[in-house]
Chain length 263, copies 2
């Protein structure tokens, strides 16, 4: 049971045929089947996912790591309280979040929540832009069992031929460049965009334009935090946010953070 | 047993007192104790770690995720075969590795191997430099249960006061800048540096100089791949590499990759 649990947790969303476990554990098919029932029940009770079983030829089992709404909401609420510290306020209406983005445990939880929300979508790649969105993108991708592709703002010599676009940053109105190496993303991929922070949405719009060059289909957009002071000017509307900064008063050093549009 | 296994895997190197499990599983201390014996035996047999138990007041148990040498070597050898594809050769003696660094499963394995090697060291932070080392740094940090700090090559407005240094890139001999926000790293931290690729070592030397400004102690340096053609000019000598590019002939499109100095 320990062996199987371990295997599932390290291989989420991987289709596994029962004979694999029979050999791994050196036991019988019916014993494995009983173990799977128990593991499924425990995962569901813990609110961390479930086992999806299929029968017939090629049938098997897959661990779907869906975090319960209850656990997700509790985490998001504790995150809001953490972010409401006035010492986090930075010039330009930004928020210091590097400590949270630097904590592998927090990052993993955030990834689990996004992956749960996007669980029913057909996603084959997670795309993010350097730098802060990278750990979040990997956390989501690990739970979805798909690769990550990183869009850069500066071309590097070490990645071969690239496609680049120019875009207008929504808040600063500056023209910037984004680059993606040609061989890093297959044409027609179904992608999920992940980033740490969204104001007007210029960066995400830029990513969408770049992805259009690869004929990619954007299935979902997830941002950890959104600032709602620029809601009127927002150019990206179909996204999922975990938290929303509803009030940020630099002069009075007041900041309010609420759960985002995920619930 | 499933609950406990799950908890350990999601909380490596976390000190857990037995009453926590007694409550979590709604059972007795002696039953937990038996379960821990079984789990420890399975983890060891699987070569993925062991349970470290301490007795007395404040005693408890900790999951130490040490990958066996056998598993580490098998992974490294398969990685070498993957990297020896001539299509990976890029101008300047670089190697295309974005597909490997974009695969969360591969990245996790690499992190597990470094964390196993550095398991006995006292490390309280993993430091890397943007961009490619970031996923590896998070994977190592997750197994070591410590935070990640990211050094940037460009200062950002969103992180507050920073310390910056200039350094000479070993291979290109250009002067570059590195920046670390002041509040991201405590003075006197004991750190482990992780990066994806090392040629002469200028970038890592730059990180060491920047970390010296924070009075940090560098306990270990881990690089995924090293190029040994510049061994004479190497300015960093005390490091651990997983693979070594021993021969790269652009004209003949030949590339040889061997296990690094980790074994």
């Amino acid at each position: 049971m320990v062996v199987i649990t371990n295997y599932f947790l390290e291989h989420p969303r991987e289709h596994i045929q029962l004979p694999f476990f029979v050999e791994l554990c050196n036991t019988t098919k019916s014993s494995i089947s009983e173990d799977l029932d128990i593991i499924d029940a425990v995962f569901q009770k813990q609110g961390c996912g479930y086992l999806h079983r299929t029968t017939g030829a090629g049938g098997g089992v897959k661990f779907i790591p869906v975090l319960s709404d209850e656990k997700s909401l509790a985490f998001i609420q504790s995150l809001c309280r953490k972010l409401e510290d006035p010492e986090r306020i930075l010039p330009g209406g930004y928020l210091y979040m590097s400590d949270i983005l630097g904590d592998p445990g927090m990052v993993r939880q955030i990834g689990h929540i996004f992956a749960s929300r996007f669980s029913s979508l057909e996603i084959d790649t997670v795309v993010t832009v350097a730098t802060k969105g990278i750990p979040l993108a990997y956390a989501v991708a690990a739970y979805l069992n798909v690769p990550v592709v990183i869009v850069r703002r500066d071309p590097k010599v070490t990645e071969g031929p690239s496609v680049s676009i120019n875009y207008v940053s929504g808040s600063s109105r500056k023209i910037q460049t984004m680059v993606l190496p040609k061989r890093s993303l297959q044409e027609g991929s179904r992608v999920c965009i992940i980033d740490d922070f969204m104001k007007a949405g210029g960066t995400i719009q830029g990513m969408m334009n770049l992805l259009a060059e690869f004929h990619a289909e954007v299935q979902a957009i997830g941002v950890l935090a959104e600032a709602d002071d620029e809601e009127d000017e927002r150019i990206v509307t179909d996204y999922t946010s975990l938290v929303k900064i509803t009030n940020l008063d630099m002069a009075k050093q007041i900041i309010d953070v609420q759960p985002g549009n995920i619930f």
